[in-house]
Protein backbone atom coordinates (compact mmCIF):
# COMPACT_ATOMS: atom_id res chain seq x y z
CA UNK A 1 0.00 0.00 0.00
CA UNK A 2 2.94 2.31 0.33
CA UNK A 3 2.78 3.05 -3.36
CA UNK A 4 -0.66 4.46 -2.71
CA UNK A 5 0.52 7.04 -0.24
CA UNK A 6 3.76 7.97 -1.84
CA UNK A 7 4.40 11.37 -3.25
CA UNK A 8 1.37 11.31 -5.48
CA UNK A 9 -0.54 13.28 -2.89
CA UNK A 10 -3.49 11.18 -1.94
CA UNK A 11 -4.40 12.99 1.20
CA UNK A 12 -3.63 16.58 1.99
CA UNK A 13 -2.77 17.18 5.67
CA UNK A 14 -5.40 19.89 5.58
CA UNK A 15 -8.11 17.33 4.95
CA UNK A 16 -7.04 15.18 7.88
CA UNK A 17 -7.02 18.18 10.17
CA UNK A 18 -10.50 19.21 9.10
CA UNK A 19 -11.76 15.70 9.71
CA UNK A 20 -10.23 15.65 13.17
CA UNK A 21 -11.88 18.97 13.94
CA UNK A 22 -15.19 17.53 12.86
CA UNK A 23 -14.69 14.84 15.46
CA UNK A 24 -14.70 17.51 18.10
CA UNK A 25 -17.77 19.27 16.75
CA UNK A 26 -20.25 17.69 19.19
CA UNK A 27 -18.24 19.14 22.06
CA UNK A 28 -19.28 22.64 21.09
CA UNK A 29 -21.76 24.15 23.55
CA UNK A 30 -24.64 24.83 21.19
CA UNK A 31 -24.68 21.36 19.64
CA UNK A 32 -28.12 20.21 20.72
CA UNK A 33 -29.71 17.07 19.37
CA UNK A 34 -31.31 19.12 16.65
CA UNK A 35 -28.01 20.52 15.45
CA UNK A 36 -26.35 17.15 15.65
CA UNK A 37 -28.98 15.72 13.34
CA UNK A 38 -28.51 18.67 11.05
CA UNK A 39 -24.79 18.03 11.06
CA UNK A 40 -25.50 14.40 10.28
CA UNK A 41 -27.54 15.40 7.26
CA UNK A 42 -24.94 17.89 6.16
CA UNK A 43 -22.12 15.35 6.21
CA UNK A 44 -24.21 12.54 4.77
CA UNK A 45 -25.44 14.48 1.78
CA UNK A 46 -22.07 16.10 1.42
CA UNK A 47 -20.55 12.67 0.98
CA UNK A 48 -23.19 11.72 -1.55
CA UNK A 49 -22.40 14.91 -3.44
CA UNK A 50 -18.74 13.92 -3.43
CA UNK A 51 -19.64 10.52 -4.84
CA UNK A 52 -21.59 12.29 -7.57
CA UNK A 53 -18.59 14.49 -8.28
CA UNK A 54 -16.68 11.38 -9.36
CA UNK A 55 -19.18 11.13 -12.17
CA UNK A 56 -19.82 14.77 -12.91
CA UNK A 57 -16.58 16.52 -12.21
CA UNK A 58 -14.09 13.85 -13.17
CA UNK A 59 -15.84 11.87 -15.87
CA UNK A 60 -18.17 14.53 -17.19
CA UNK A 61 -21.31 12.42 -16.80
CA UNK A 62 -24.38 14.00 -15.26
CA UNK A 63 -26.54 11.58 -13.32
CA UNK A 64 -30.13 12.66 -12.93
CA UNK A 65 -30.94 9.53 -11.01
CA UNK A 66 -28.64 9.56 -8.02
CA UNK A 67 -31.57 9.86 -5.67
CA UNK A 68 -32.54 6.35 -6.70
CA UNK A 69 -29.21 4.95 -5.52
CA UNK A 70 -29.67 6.77 -2.24
CA UNK A 71 -33.27 5.74 -1.79
CA UNK A 72 -32.60 2.11 -2.66
CA UNK A 73 -29.90 1.99 -0.03
CA UNK A 74 -32.34 3.45 2.47
CA UNK A 75 -35.05 0.96 1.60
CA UNK A 76 -32.63 -1.95 1.71
CA UNK A 77 -31.61 -1.00 5.19
CA UNK A 78 -35.14 -0.22 6.34
CA UNK A 79 -36.55 -3.47 5.04
CA UNK A 80 -34.08 -5.45 7.14
CA UNK A 81 -34.45 -3.28 10.21
CA UNK A 82 -38.22 -3.56 10.01
CA UNK A 83 -37.91 -7.32 10.12
CA UNK A 84 -35.69 -7.28 13.17
CA UNK A 85 -32.39 -7.77 11.38
CA UNK A 86 -30.67 -4.97 13.14
CA UNK A 87 -26.99 -5.57 12.55
CA UNK A 88 -25.59 -2.48 10.86
CA UNK A 89 -23.13 -4.58 8.91
CA UNK A 90 -25.81 -6.82 7.49
CA UNK A 91 -27.82 -3.77 6.51
CA UNK A 92 -24.85 -2.21 4.77
CA UNK A 93 -23.99 -5.45 3.01
CA UNK A 94 -27.55 -5.85 1.81
CA UNK A 95 -27.61 -2.26 0.59
CA UNK A 96 -24.40 -2.90 -1.34
CA UNK A 97 -26.03 -5.93 -2.94
CA UNK A 98 -29.28 -4.21 -3.87
CA UNK A 99 -27.76 -0.93 -5.06
CA UNK A 100 -24.96 -2.80 -6.75
CA UNK A 101 -27.35 -4.88 -8.83
CA UNK A 102 -29.44 -1.88 -9.76
CA UNK A 103 -26.34 0.16 -10.58
CA UNK A 104 -24.99 -2.65 -12.72
CA UNK A 105 -28.10 -2.65 -14.85
CA UNK A 106 -28.40 1.13 -15.06
CA UNK A 107 -24.76 1.69 -15.83
CA UNK A 108 -24.74 -0.98 -18.49
CA UNK A 109 -27.46 0.72 -20.47
CA UNK A 110 -26.55 4.25 -19.60
CA UNK A 111 -22.91 4.01 -20.65
CA UNK A 112 -23.40 2.22 -23.94
CA UNK A 113 -23.70 5.44 -25.92
CA UNK A 114 -22.62 9.04 -25.64
CA UNK A 115 -22.69 11.01 -22.44
CA UNK A 116 -26.01 12.65 -23.15
CA UNK A 117 -27.79 9.31 -23.05
CA UNK A 118 -26.32 8.75 -19.61
CA UNK A 119 -28.28 11.70 -18.29
CA UNK A 120 -31.49 10.59 -19.96
CA UNK A 121 -31.25 6.95 -18.94
CA UNK A 122 -30.30 7.59 -15.32
CA UNK A 123 -33.34 9.84 -15.12
CA UNK A 124 -35.69 7.30 -16.64
CA UNK A 125 -34.41 4.44 -14.51
CA UNK A 126 -34.80 6.55 -11.39
CA UNK A 127 -38.35 7.48 -12.33
CA UNK A 128 -39.22 3.83 -12.73
CA UNK A 129 -37.72 2.98 -9.36
CA UNK A 130 -39.63 5.84 -7.77
CA UNK A 131 -42.88 4.76 -9.40
CA UNK A 132 -42.31 1.21 -8.29
CA UNK A 133 -41.77 2.06 -4.65
CA UNK A 134 -44.47 4.71 -4.58
CA UNK A 135 -47.16 2.35 -5.79
CA UNK A 136 -46.10 -0.97 -4.32
CA UNK A 137 -47.86 -1.67 -1.06
CA UNK A 138 -45.34 -4.25 0.05
CA UNK A 139 -42.94 -1.41 0.61
CA UNK A 140 -45.49 0.85 2.16
CA UNK A 141 -46.57 2.75 -0.91
CA UNK A 142 -46.36 6.49 -0.54
CA UNK A 143 -45.78 6.22 3.20
CA UNK A 144 -42.79 4.01 2.79
CA UNK A 145 -41.42 2.04 5.69
CA UNK A 146 -41.98 3.81 8.97
CA UNK A 147 -40.82 3.35 12.50
CA UNK A 148 -37.81 1.14 12.01
CA UNK A 149 -35.55 0.39 14.98
CA UNK A 150 -31.99 1.62 15.15
CA UNK A 151 -29.23 -0.57 13.77
CA UNK A 152 -26.73 -2.20 16.12
CA UNK A 153 -23.04 -1.76 15.60
CA UNK A 154 -21.90 -4.67 17.75
CA UNK A 155 -23.89 -6.82 20.10
CA UNK A 156 -26.34 -4.53 21.88
CA UNK A 157 -24.60 -1.31 21.02
CA UNK A 158 -27.27 0.51 19.03
CA UNK A 159 -26.74 3.63 16.97
CA UNK A 160 -29.74 5.23 18.53
CA UNK A 161 -28.70 8.72 19.52
CA UNK A 162 -27.90 11.70 17.33
CA UNK A 163 -24.38 11.64 18.73
CA UNK A 164 -23.73 8.06 17.72
CA UNK A 165 -25.27 8.65 14.32
CA UNK A 166 -23.01 11.64 13.88
CA UNK A 167 -19.85 9.67 14.51
CA UNK A 168 -21.06 6.92 12.26
CA UNK A 169 -21.55 9.31 9.37
CA UNK A 170 -18.23 10.95 10.12
CA UNK A 171 -16.53 7.57 9.76
CA UNK A 172 -18.41 7.03 6.52
CA UNK A 173 -17.29 10.43 5.26
CA UNK A 174 -13.67 9.76 6.14
CA UNK A 175 -13.54 6.37 4.48
CA UNK A 176 -15.44 7.52 1.41
CA UNK A 177 -13.15 10.52 1.00
CA UNK A 178 -10.08 8.34 1.29
CA UNK A 179 -11.43 5.92 -1.28
CA UNK A 180 -12.25 8.74 -3.68
CA UNK A 181 -8.84 10.36 -3.28
CA UNK A 182 -7.09 7.07 -4.00
CA UNK A 183 -9.28 6.62 -7.01
CA UNK A 184 -8.79 10.01 -8.60
CA UNK A 185 -5.03 9.97 -8.13
CA UNK A 186 -4.68 6.57 -9.74
CA UNK A 187 -4.42 5.45 -13.34
CA UNK A 188 -8.15 5.01 -13.33
CA UNK A 189 -8.74 8.58 -12.25
CA UNK A 190 -6.63 10.00 -15.05
CA UNK A 191 -8.45 7.96 -17.63
CA UNK A 192 -11.73 9.31 -16.31
CA UNK A 193 -10.50 12.83 -16.96
CA UNK A 194 -9.43 11.84 -20.45
CA UNK A 195 -12.89 10.43 -21.08
CA UNK A 196 -14.41 13.67 -19.92
CA UNK A 197 -12.15 15.72 -22.14
CA UNK A 198 -12.56 13.64 -25.27
CA UNK A 199 -14.37 10.36 -25.09
CA UNK A 200 -13.80 9.41 -28.71
CA UNK A 201 -10.09 10.03 -28.57
CA UNK A 202 -9.81 7.88 -25.49
CA UNK A 203 -11.35 5.00 -27.39
CA UNK A 204 -8.89 5.36 -30.22
CA UNK A 205 -6.08 5.28 -27.70
CA UNK A 206 -7.10 1.83 -26.63
CA UNK A 207 -9.39 2.48 -23.69
CA UNK A 208 -12.61 0.52 -23.35
CA UNK A 209 -14.51 3.63 -22.43
CA UNK A 210 -17.74 1.90 -21.54
CA UNK A 211 -16.02 -0.23 -18.97
CA UNK A 212 -14.49 2.77 -17.29
CA UNK A 213 -17.79 4.60 -17.26
CA UNK A 214 -19.56 1.60 -15.81
CA UNK A 215 -16.94 1.23 -13.13
CA UNK A 216 -17.06 4.83 -11.97
CA UNK A 217 -20.86 4.80 -12.12
CA UNK A 218 -21.01 1.76 -9.91
CA UNK A 219 -18.49 3.10 -7.46
CA UNK A 220 -20.39 6.35 -7.23
CA UNK A 221 -23.67 4.49 -6.87
CA UNK A 222 -22.36 2.20 -4.15
CA UNK A 223 -20.95 5.06 -2.11
CA UNK A 224 -24.28 6.83 -2.45
CA UNK A 225 -26.23 3.70 -1.57
CA UNK A 226 -24.14 3.20 1.56
CA UNK A 227 -25.03 6.71 2.57
CA UNK A 228 -28.68 5.91 1.95
CA UNK A 229 -28.36 2.82 4.12
CA UNK A 230 -27.28 4.99 7.02
CA UNK A 231 -30.31 7.22 6.69
CA UNK A 232 -33.03 5.07 8.35
CA UNK A 233 -30.83 4.88 11.42
CA UNK A 234 -31.27 8.60 11.75
CA UNK A 235 -34.78 9.08 10.49
CA UNK A 236 -36.44 5.78 11.36
CA UNK A 237 -38.08 5.71 7.94
CA UNK A 238 -37.53 5.25 4.23
CA UNK A 239 -39.97 6.87 1.83
CA UNK A 240 -40.31 7.16 -1.94
CA UNK A 241 -39.78 10.91 -1.63
CA UNK A 242 -36.11 10.16 -1.14
CA UNK A 243 -36.03 9.10 -4.76
CA UNK A 244 -37.74 12.05 -6.42
CA UNK A 245 -35.88 13.49 -9.35
CA UNK A 246 -35.92 16.83 -7.60
CA UNK A 247 -33.70 15.22 -5.00
CA UNK A 248 -31.35 14.19 -7.77
CA UNK A 249 -31.40 17.81 -8.83
CA UNK A 250 -30.49 18.84 -5.31
CA UNK A 251 -27.46 16.56 -5.39
CA UNK A 252 -26.40 18.24 -8.59
CA UNK A 253 -26.72 21.65 -6.99
CA UNK A 254 -24.54 20.49 -4.12
CA UNK A 255 -21.80 19.48 -6.49
CA UNK A 256 -22.08 22.70 -8.47
CA UNK A 257 -22.01 24.88 -5.37
CA UNK A 258 -18.88 23.26 -4.11
CA UNK A 259 -17.12 23.12 -7.45
CA UNK A 260 -16.87 20.31 -9.97
CA UNK A 261 -13.90 18.04 -9.80
CA UNK A 262 -12.63 18.88 -6.36
CA UNK A 263 -14.17 16.14 -4.17
CA UNK A 264 -13.89 18.22 -1.03
CA UNK A 265 -15.80 21.06 -2.63
CA UNK A 266 -19.01 19.07 -3.08
CA UNK A 267 -18.80 17.92 0.54
CA UNK A 268 -18.83 21.53 1.62
CA UNK A 269 -21.42 22.30 -1.04
CA UNK A 270 -23.62 19.54 0.29
CA UNK A 271 -23.29 20.73 3.84
CA UNK A 272 -23.96 24.29 2.79
CA UNK A 273 -27.04 23.27 0.86
CA UNK A 274 -28.47 21.24 3.73
CA UNK A 275 -28.04 24.16 6.08
CA UNK A 276 -29.53 26.54 3.55
CA UNK A 277 -32.45 24.22 2.90
CA UNK A 278 -33.12 24.12 6.61
CA UNK A 279 -33.55 27.87 6.62
CA UNK A 280 -35.45 28.16 3.37
CA UNK A 281 -37.73 25.15 3.66
CA UNK A 282 -40.25 27.10 5.66
CA UNK A 283 -41.05 28.88 2.41
CA UNK A 284 -42.00 25.56 0.84
CA UNK A 285 -44.00 27.19 -1.92
CA UNK A 286 -41.10 29.00 -3.42
CA UNK A 287 -38.54 26.34 -2.65
CA UNK A 288 -38.43 24.68 -6.04
CA UNK A 289 -38.35 27.96 -7.89
CA UNK A 290 -35.37 28.94 -5.80
CA UNK A 291 -33.67 25.65 -6.58
CA UNK A 292 -34.24 26.17 -10.27
CA UNK A 293 -32.96 29.72 -10.18
CA UNK A 294 -29.93 28.71 -8.17
CA UNK A 295 -29.06 26.10 -10.79
CA UNK A 296 -29.43 28.60 -13.60
CA UNK A 297 -27.41 31.25 -11.85
CA UNK A 298 -24.61 28.91 -10.90
CA UNK A 299 -24.27 27.54 -14.39
CA UNK A 300 -24.25 30.96 -15.98
CA UNK A 301 -22.16 32.92 -13.54
CA UNK A 302 -20.33 30.63 -11.21
CA UNK A 303 -19.69 27.33 -12.97
CA UNK A 304 -16.59 26.79 -10.92
CA UNK A 305 -18.50 26.71 -7.69
CA UNK A 306 -20.34 29.20 -5.60
CA UNK A 307 -18.01 29.07 -2.68
CA UNK A 308 -14.80 29.19 -4.64
CA UNK A 309 -13.79 26.11 -2.78
CA UNK A 310 -11.21 25.37 -5.35
CA UNK A 311 -9.12 28.33 -4.41
CA UNK A 312 -9.45 27.43 -0.77
CA UNK A 313 -8.26 23.91 -1.27
CA UNK A 314 -5.25 24.71 -3.26
CA UNK A 315 -6.01 26.65 -6.36
CA UNK A 316 -5.59 23.91 -8.91
CA UNK A 317 -7.72 24.13 -11.97
CA UNK A 318 -10.53 21.66 -11.77
CA UNK A 319 -9.70 20.21 -15.10
CA UNK A 320 -6.22 19.05 -14.38
CA UNK A 321 -5.58 15.62 -13.08
CA UNK A 322 -4.01 15.08 -9.71
Amino acid sequence: MSSVFSSRGVMAPRAVIVWLCLMLLPALPFMSKFYLLLAFDALLFGTVAMALDLLMGYTGLVSFGHAAFFGLGAYASAVLLERGIVSLWVCLAFAVLVVGLYALVVSFFATARRGIYFALLTLIFAEVVYTFFRYTQTFGGSDGIQGVPSPRLLGDFAIDTPLRNYYLVLAYLGLAYLACRVLVTSHFGRVLVAIRENEDRARFLGYNVQRYKMAVCMISALLTGLGGALYPGRSAFATPDLMLWTVSGEFIIMVMIGGLGTLAGPIVGGAFFVLLQEKVSSYVDWYFIVIGLVLIVIVLFMPRGLLGIRELIGGRRWRTTA
Partner: protein, 253 residues
Amino acid sequence: MAHDGVVLEVDSVSKNFGALAALSRVSFAVRPGQIFSVIGPNGAGKSTLFNVISGLHAPTVGRVRFRGQEIAGLAPEAINRLGIAKTFQITNIFPEISVFENVRVAAQSRARESGRLASLWRLPDVEAGASELLRAFGLATRRDELAENLSHGEQRYLEICLALATSPSLLLLDEPTAGMTPGETKEATALIRQIATARGLTVLLIEHDMSVVMGISDRVAVLHFGEKIAEGAPEQIRNDPQVIEAYLGPPEA
Protein backbone atom coordinates in the same frame (compact mmCIF):
# COMPACT_ATOMS: atom_id res chain seq x y z
CA MET B 1 0.64 -16.04 -38.33
CA ALA B 2 1.95 -16.19 -41.85
CA HIS B 3 1.52 -12.87 -43.51
CA ASP B 4 4.24 -12.74 -46.09
CA GLY B 5 5.90 -9.74 -44.56
CA VAL B 6 2.87 -7.52 -45.12
CA VAL B 7 1.82 -5.31 -42.24
CA LEU B 8 -1.55 -4.20 -43.51
CA GLU B 9 -3.65 -5.79 -46.18
CA VAL B 10 -6.80 -4.12 -47.43
CA ASP B 11 -8.66 -6.72 -49.43
CA SER B 12 -11.48 -5.66 -51.76
CA VAL B 13 -12.98 -3.35 -49.22
CA SER B 14 -16.23 -1.65 -50.13
CA LYS B 15 -18.15 0.63 -47.83
CA ASN B 16 -21.66 1.83 -48.52
CA PHE B 17 -23.60 4.43 -46.61
CA GLY B 18 -27.09 3.79 -47.78
CA ALA B 19 -26.99 4.49 -51.49
CA LEU B 20 -23.61 6.15 -51.36
CA ALA B 21 -20.64 3.94 -52.25
CA ALA B 22 -17.84 5.59 -50.34
CA LEU B 23 -15.36 2.84 -51.13
CA SER B 24 -15.47 0.32 -53.95
CA ARG B 25 -13.32 -2.78 -53.94
CA VAL B 26 -10.21 -1.06 -52.68
CA SER B 27 -7.19 -3.31 -52.29
CA PHE B 28 -3.58 -2.70 -51.45
CA ALA B 29 -0.88 -3.95 -49.16
CA VAL B 30 1.60 -2.10 -46.99
CA ARG B 31 4.99 -3.57 -46.19
CA PRO B 32 6.86 -3.12 -42.92
CA GLY B 33 8.72 0.14 -42.61
CA GLN B 34 7.02 1.70 -45.62
CA ILE B 35 5.56 5.12 -45.75
CA PHE B 36 2.50 4.56 -47.85
CA SER B 37 0.43 7.54 -48.96
CA VAL B 38 -3.18 7.62 -50.02
CA ILE B 39 -4.16 10.60 -52.10
CA GLY B 40 -7.15 11.67 -54.12
CA PRO B 41 -9.57 14.56 -54.59
CA ASN B 42 -12.01 15.53 -51.86
CA GLY B 43 -14.68 12.96 -51.35
CA ALA B 44 -12.53 10.20 -52.79
CA GLY B 45 -13.04 8.07 -49.73
CA LYS B 46 -9.67 8.47 -48.03
CA SER B 47 -11.03 9.26 -44.59
CA THR B 48 -13.60 6.51 -44.93
CA LEU B 49 -10.76 4.14 -45.65
CA PHE B 50 -9.02 5.20 -42.47
CA ASN B 51 -12.25 4.90 -40.54
CA VAL B 52 -12.68 1.35 -41.74
CA ILE B 53 -9.11 0.38 -40.89
CA SER B 54 -9.21 2.01 -37.46
CA GLY B 55 -12.50 0.44 -36.48
CA LEU B 56 -15.01 3.26 -36.68
CA HIS B 57 -16.88 1.45 -39.44
CA ALA B 58 -17.06 -2.15 -40.48
CA PRO B 59 -16.63 -2.64 -44.23
CA THR B 60 -19.77 -3.56 -46.13
CA VAL B 61 -17.74 -6.04 -48.10
CA GLY B 62 -14.13 -7.06 -47.94
CA ARG B 63 -11.47 -7.80 -45.39
CA VAL B 64 -8.76 -5.96 -43.57
CA ARG B 65 -5.80 -7.89 -42.23
CA PHE B 66 -3.21 -6.52 -39.84
CA ARG B 67 -0.14 -8.74 -39.56
CA GLY B 68 -2.24 -11.57 -40.85
CA GLN B 69 -5.06 -11.04 -38.37
CA GLU B 70 -8.57 -10.10 -39.43
CA ILE B 71 -9.48 -6.78 -37.91
CA ALA B 72 -12.50 -5.67 -39.90
CA GLY B 73 -15.41 -5.04 -37.57
CA LEU B 74 -13.37 -4.90 -34.37
CA ALA B 75 -13.94 -2.02 -31.96
CA PRO B 76 -11.58 0.96 -32.19
CA GLU B 77 -10.00 0.29 -28.83
CA ALA B 78 -9.33 -3.31 -29.73
CA ILE B 79 -7.68 -2.31 -32.99
CA ASN B 80 -5.53 0.21 -31.19
CA ARG B 81 -4.40 -2.42 -28.75
CA LEU B 82 -3.32 -4.62 -31.62
CA GLY B 83 -0.92 -1.91 -32.71
CA ILE B 84 -2.67 0.52 -35.04
CA ALA B 85 -2.83 4.15 -33.96
CA LYS B 86 -4.66 6.88 -35.82
CA THR B 87 -4.49 10.64 -35.84
CA PHE B 88 -7.46 12.76 -36.77
CA GLN B 89 -7.84 15.22 -39.59
CA ILE B 90 -9.45 17.71 -37.25
CA THR B 91 -7.32 17.95 -34.15
CA ASN B 92 -8.74 15.71 -31.49
CA ILE B 93 -6.82 16.19 -28.27
CA PHE B 94 -7.75 16.56 -24.61
CA PRO B 95 -8.24 20.30 -24.46
CA GLU B 96 -8.28 21.25 -20.82
CA ILE B 97 -5.42 19.26 -19.44
CA SER B 98 -1.77 19.99 -19.99
CA VAL B 99 0.27 18.82 -22.96
CA PHE B 100 2.24 16.47 -20.75
CA GLU B 101 -0.91 15.05 -19.19
CA ASN B 102 -2.28 14.49 -22.69
CA VAL B 103 0.61 12.30 -23.73
CA ARG B 104 0.88 10.67 -20.34
CA VAL B 105 -2.67 9.39 -20.33
CA ALA B 106 -2.18 8.08 -23.86
CA ALA B 107 0.96 6.25 -22.75
CA GLN B 108 -0.83 4.83 -19.74
CA SER B 109 -3.02 2.89 -22.08
CA ARG B 110 -0.14 0.46 -22.55
CA ALA B 111 0.85 0.20 -18.92
CA ARG B 112 0.63 -3.13 -17.24
CA GLU B 113 -2.11 -2.01 -14.89
CA SER B 114 -4.31 -0.72 -17.63
CA GLY B 115 -7.66 -2.44 -17.72
CA ARG B 116 -7.04 -4.31 -14.50
CA LEU B 117 -8.57 -3.89 -11.08
CA ALA B 118 -5.30 -2.60 -9.71
CA SER B 119 -5.61 0.47 -11.88
CA LEU B 120 -8.16 1.75 -9.38
CA TRP B 121 -5.39 2.50 -6.93
CA ARG B 122 -2.09 2.14 -8.71
CA LEU B 123 -0.31 4.71 -10.78
CA PRO B 124 1.81 3.39 -13.61
CA ASP B 125 5.13 5.00 -14.35
CA VAL B 126 5.02 6.25 -17.88
CA GLU B 127 6.45 9.68 -17.37
CA ALA B 128 9.79 8.97 -19.04
CA GLY B 129 8.28 7.73 -22.27
CA ALA B 130 5.86 10.63 -22.41
CA SER B 131 8.62 13.18 -21.85
CA GLU B 132 10.75 11.63 -24.53
CA LEU B 133 7.95 11.89 -27.07
CA LEU B 134 7.43 15.53 -26.24
CA ARG B 135 11.15 16.15 -26.69
CA ALA B 136 11.16 14.42 -30.05
CA PHE B 137 8.46 16.74 -31.32
CA GLY B 138 9.86 19.85 -29.76
CA LEU B 139 6.99 20.22 -27.33
CA ALA B 140 9.04 19.76 -24.18
CA THR B 141 9.00 23.46 -23.38
CA ARG B 142 5.22 23.54 -23.67
CA ARG B 143 4.56 20.58 -21.45
CA ASP B 144 2.63 22.40 -18.74
CA GLU B 145 0.54 24.45 -21.11
CA LEU B 146 -3.09 23.53 -21.54
CA ALA B 147 -3.45 21.65 -24.78
CA GLU B 148 -6.12 24.00 -26.07
CA ASN B 149 -3.70 26.92 -25.80
CA LEU B 150 -1.21 25.47 -28.22
CA SER B 151 -0.77 26.87 -31.70
CA HIS B 152 -2.34 24.93 -34.52
CA GLY B 153 0.94 23.45 -35.64
CA GLU B 154 1.83 22.39 -32.11
CA GLN B 155 -1.55 20.77 -31.72
CA ARG B 156 -1.00 18.78 -34.88
CA TYR B 157 2.25 17.53 -33.36
CA LEU B 158 0.47 16.70 -30.13
CA GLU B 159 -2.04 14.77 -32.16
CA ILE B 160 0.78 12.58 -33.47
CA CYS B 161 2.36 12.26 -30.01
CA LEU B 162 -0.87 10.87 -28.65
CA ALA B 163 -0.97 8.21 -31.30
CA LEU B 164 2.69 7.33 -30.88
CA ALA B 165 2.33 7.08 -27.11
CA THR B 166 0.36 3.90 -27.58
CA SER B 167 3.40 2.16 -29.07
CA PRO B 168 1.86 1.26 -32.39
CA SER B 169 3.55 -0.59 -35.19
CA LEU B 170 1.28 0.97 -37.80
CA LEU B 171 0.58 4.67 -37.73
CA LEU B 172 -2.37 6.13 -39.62
CA LEU B 173 -1.82 9.82 -40.23
CA ASP B 174 -4.84 11.69 -41.53
CA GLU B 175 -3.58 14.89 -43.14
CA PRO B 176 -1.02 15.56 -40.43
CA THR B 177 0.06 18.83 -41.98
CA ALA B 178 -3.43 20.23 -42.48
CA GLY B 179 -3.47 23.90 -41.71
CA MET B 180 0.29 24.19 -41.31
CA THR B 181 2.38 26.86 -42.93
CA PRO B 182 4.80 25.70 -45.65
CA GLY B 183 7.67 26.01 -43.23
CA GLU B 184 5.91 23.95 -40.58
CA THR B 185 4.95 21.42 -43.23
CA LYS B 186 8.55 20.89 -44.28
CA GLU B 187 9.61 20.44 -40.69
CA ALA B 188 6.76 18.08 -39.92
CA THR B 189 7.49 15.98 -42.97
CA ALA B 190 11.11 15.54 -42.02
CA LEU B 191 10.18 14.78 -38.44
CA ILE B 192 7.67 12.14 -39.42
CA ARG B 193 10.18 10.42 -41.66
CA GLN B 194 12.83 10.54 -38.99
CA ILE B 195 10.66 9.20 -36.22
CA ALA B 196 9.17 6.51 -38.39
CA THR B 197 12.63 5.25 -39.24
CA ALA B 198 13.91 5.55 -35.69
CA ARG B 199 11.01 3.57 -34.28
CA GLY B 200 10.66 1.11 -37.09
CA LEU B 201 7.13 2.24 -37.81
CA THR B 202 5.00 1.59 -40.81
CA VAL B 203 3.07 4.68 -41.80
CA LEU B 204 -0.13 5.02 -43.79
CA LEU B 205 -0.63 8.63 -44.73
CA ILE B 206 -3.47 10.69 -46.16
CA GLU B 207 -2.22 13.89 -47.63
CA HIS B 208 -3.29 16.71 -49.88
CA ASP B 209 0.03 18.44 -50.00
CA MET B 210 1.94 16.98 -52.92
CA SER B 211 5.31 18.09 -51.65
CA VAL B 212 4.79 15.98 -48.56
CA VAL B 213 3.62 13.01 -50.55
CA MET B 214 6.48 13.15 -53.00
CA GLY B 215 8.94 13.90 -50.27
CA ILE B 216 8.49 10.98 -47.95
CA SER B 217 6.39 8.29 -49.58
CA ASP B 218 7.77 4.96 -50.56
CA ARG B 219 4.55 4.12 -52.31
CA VAL B 220 1.38 5.96 -53.27
CA ALA B 221 -2.19 4.86 -53.94
CA VAL B 222 -4.74 7.12 -55.55
CA LEU B 223 -8.44 7.00 -54.76
CA HIS B 224 -11.12 8.59 -56.89
CA PHE B 225 -14.83 8.29 -56.14
CA GLY B 226 -14.09 5.44 -53.81
CA GLU B 227 -12.05 3.40 -56.23
CA LYS B 228 -8.34 2.89 -56.41
CA ILE B 229 -7.26 4.18 -59.80
CA ALA B 230 -3.53 3.89 -59.45
CA GLU B 231 -0.79 2.61 -57.19
CA GLY B 232 2.97 2.77 -57.45
CA ALA B 233 6.12 4.68 -56.65
CA PRO B 234 5.69 8.44 -56.25
CA GLU B 235 7.28 9.27 -59.55
CA GLN B 236 5.09 6.79 -61.39
CA ILE B 237 1.98 8.31 -59.88
CA ARG B 238 3.04 11.82 -60.62
CA ASN B 239 3.26 11.03 -64.29
CA ASP B 240 0.23 8.76 -64.52
CA PRO B 241 -2.18 10.36 -66.98
CA GLN B 242 -5.23 8.94 -65.22
CA VAL B 243 -4.17 10.44 -61.96
CA ILE B 244 -3.31 13.75 -63.51
CA GLU B 245 -6.70 13.79 -65.08
CA ALA B 246 -8.47 12.99 -61.83
CA TYR B 247 -6.59 15.62 -59.97
CA LEU B 248 -3.11 16.51 -59.17
CA GLY B 249 -3.44 20.18 -58.59
CA PRO B 250 -0.86 22.64 -59.78
CA PRO B 251 2.55 21.05 -60.18
CA GLU B 252 4.68 21.52 -57.11
CA ALA B 253 8.14 22.97 -57.48
